[in-house]
């Protein structure tokens, strides 16, 4: 079964022309690739387009993949580059300022609504971050890559990655603070 095969084996098969093996790789990495692309582009549709470009580019360049190394960072580097290329081409519009609407003064909305509100605040805060910080925090805290792997993916020193993750976390946590305080008051 393809599902049981390691990524390196799938990559080798895909390189030999096995599109079902490539499909399994897409299946495993599409969510991650789309999140990373979206974190670069700040746009769902553009992010998906960039993720698709990245998968096709990866298929084209599988001969350059070193099977002795993990597949994820190699692919994420392609995803990040595809997203940056797409942003350059489209000259993505300036990010709109975050609306300061936080639920601090609201009374007792349902928990799903709470969560949606929190996610909306978080999404806007993420959009306000510099691109590199967005990608670094998503790769580290969402996707679980190490600082070293992220440094390789976005081609910056490890110290820069640590700094970017720190600043991004602080900004995101600060943006979520009013929401968090409000939750504590309600609870």
């Amino acid at each position: 079964m393809l599902r049981d095969l390691p990524e390196t084996e799938l990559a080798v098969r895909a390189h030999a022309g096995d599109l079902t093996a490539f499909g399994e790789l897409v299946n495993r990495y599409s969510a991650q690739a789309r999140r990373v692309a979206r974190s670069v582009l700040n746009d769902t549709d553009d992010g998906d387009d960039a993720a698709q470009d990245a998968f096709l580019s990866a298929l084209k360049n599988l001969g350059r993949y070193d099977p002795s190394r993990p597949f994820g960072p190699w692919l994420m580097r392609i995803v990040a580059n595809a997203a940056v290329d797409r942003r350059r081409r489209k000259k993505v519009r300036a990010v709109e300022a975050l609306s300061p609407a936080t639920p601090t003064s609201r009374s007792g909305p349902a928990s799903e609504t709470d969560r949606r509100a929190m996610l909306s605040v978080l999404e806007e805060a993420l959009k306000r971050l510099p691109e590199r910080q967005r990608v670094a925090v998503v790769l580290f805290d969402v996707e679980g890559y190490s600082h070293a792997e992220i440094a390789e993916i976005i081609s910056v020193p490890q110290g820069t990655v640590r700094s970017d993750v720190f600043h991004a976390r602080r900004a995101l946590r600060t943006a979520l603070k009013p929401w968090q305080d409000w939750k504590e008051e309600v609870i």
Binding site: R35, A51, F55, F166, R173
Partner: protein, 123 residues
């Protein structure tokens, strides 16, 4: 959310989970299908290193077929030719052209003496 120091070198799982939801990718299967359809559409042209191996691969099938056919013909040909060839070799007598030179000159090697003598007397 619980407090988490931005200095912490480990993953901030709570923030990570919230970010994952915020960046929620939506319809997973539709995206996979879309990428695969695009890959199928572009086919082998996507693979830039297809040049040498694909050319060799394309050549290998007719090349192998031709090599097998040649081998078969060679084997059949040799087997069919071998007995007759041995027979004909056995039937062939040594041919000696008798000329003025050969009449006078001594034989250089083993020539049938009766045959030479008979030719001499015929003339």
């Amino acid at each position: 959310m619980r407090p988490f120091s931005p200095f912490n070198h480990r993953r901030d799982r709570e923030l990570g989970d919230a970010l994952r939801d915020a960046l929620g990718p939506g319809d997973h299967l539709a995206f996979v299908r879309r990428v695969l359809a695009s890959a199928h559409g572009q086919g082998a042209a996507l693979r830039d290193d297809a040049s040498s191996w694909d050319v060799l691969g394309a050549w290998s099938a007719p090349g192998l077929a031709a090599a097998i056919a040649l081998t078969i013909f060679a084997v059949i040909g040799l087997r069919g030719f071998e007995p007759r060839a041995m027979e004909s070799l056995g039937a062939v007598a040594p041919v000696t052209v008798v000329t003025e030179t050969t009449r006078t000159a001594p034989p250089l090697n083993t020539v049938d003496g009766d045959f030479v003598l008979a030719s001499f007397f015929e003339h």
